[in-house]
Symmetry: C2
Subunit: 270 residues, 2 copies
């Protein structure tokens, strides 16, 4: 699947592009079932809710579940990513967030690339993020909010804030925009949050300023975020690299499947 | 101004009614200026942000500012309230919340009447709330979220939760619905949040389940909430009554002005 000129223009101008209902309901069911399965596998890739036993997030499911190994190679997703970035891309990070009800995540406003540059010494913002809605996303259950066009001038600040708690640990607050920076950007860019039925996919820039709205609904809301990186732009960690489930080490260029992942499932290996 | 049959039906069925752009932009300016003025008056009625000097909320401005004394008697507001409730009403509580950016208020889901029954021994849910938007309300700056129709069966729980921190102090968490109660109500009622330009007014039931969405924008967002009570339904506090700026003691029935507050201003006394 190739994006139209209008679609690539929108991605480059706005810093994001929503593809509504890209996956069909049966495919969403397959992905949900794979997440339920994967969330039962113990290990550091599974992050529990504070003080709870419920799963808050699971990393690197594409390394364990064929549905997700297929999804990241699905032509409806991988071809647009290659079109926006370059032919040789791999998945740098893969995460499914169960976005628990009643808050949870803090809504620090940030740019992803600053985090990756600081944590992994990633050379350039040569990434495309995809967000796959595993549940309907509404204004009430924690949509991501973008400042459209805020990616266009690169990083707002170059380093972590002075109040950084630790040189080792990267707290979202350390890389968040100041209230003044945010106010100036909102004045110029406004705010928008892509919403849509389960199966919708949003592509977004690693430099777009975004925040996460809290989940006001009483139900968990699952969102998959995969980050594709240019294979010519590998991280160069100066110290101990972050674990493989956070920053994937399989940097072989991905090739698109011939068919949607749901039809190709039997032939896919993780 | 009288509500139509459709409007009163909607209020009774849904538990709320939005009157978009009821006040004009010049009137909104008058009200904002009066708030700025009132927010400079020191006293317990002025609530500061945690650890800050900024104003989070101001109570009982209608007792000090003629614009607000006029507003609560404005025929566009008082007549619909009387139509929904009874001819003899007074303002039980009046508050302007500056809804600071980046969170602030916790989004406990609750029913107002439970709080008033517990705190003030208010006999019956014979109130109408009005919310006046002093700024545009969008999905991003902290709209109130209603569960439509959730008022219809009265109070979900009859007392404060077992975890109540104190018998004296009423914490919003003490009166909030449990996650199970909320999930059941959202399943049945759904969620909705009235939005609109500054000058819009939302009327809502004291028994509707509602929560407050955090303000994701970098700008404060001012919302006025006034609660009208039936004069035949006065609170009967068993101990020390709450202060006059929180629970107003002037229970004289309000009479509608002959004209909008902005035109009647010169003739109004607080």
């Amino acid at each position: 699947m190739r994006l139209t000129k209008d679609q690539t223009d929108q991605y480059h101008e706005q810093g994001f592009l929503l593809l509504e209902s890209l996956l069909d309901p049966q495919e969403v069911e397959l992905l949900r079932a794979a997440f339920e399965r994967d969330a039962r596998i113990p290990g550091p890739q599974r992050v529990a809710e504070d003080g709870g036993t419920k799963v808050r997030a699971v990393y690197s499911s594409h390394q364990r579940q064929p549905e997700y190994a297929g999804l990241i190679r699905d032509p409806r997703i991988l071809e647009p990513v290659r079109q926006l970035l370059t032919d040789d891309v791999y998945v740098y990070q893969f995460k499914i967030n169960a976005k628990p009800p009643f808050g949870g995540d803090k809504w620090a406003w940030h740019q992803d690339f600053l985090a990756w540059r600081l944590a992994d010494n990633l050379p350039a913002p040569r990434q495309v993020n995809i967000g796959v809605f595993l549940d309907d996303v509404t204004e009430f259950n924690g949509p991501v909010i973008f400042l459209p066009g805020s990616h266009a001038n690169g990083l707002v600040s170059e380093g972590r804030s002075d109040s950084a708690k630790s040189a080792q640990h990267l707290d979202p607050d350390d890389i968040s925009l100041s209230p003044q920076q945010l106010a100036a950007h909102v004045d110029r860019c406004g705010m928008t949050s892509p919403k849509g039925p389960a199966g919708s996919v949003v592509l977004f820039s690693p430099e777009i300023v975004h925040g996460s709205s809290p989940n006001m609904s009483p139900f968990a809301r699952r969102l998959l975020i995969a980050t594709y990186n240019d294979t010519a732009n590998l991280p160069r960690p100066t110290g101990e690299p972050r674990p493989d489930y956070v920053v994937c080490r399989d940097t072989e260029p991905l090739r698109p499947l011939a068919a949607p992942f749901s039809r190709a499932l039997s032939g896919v290996t993780a």
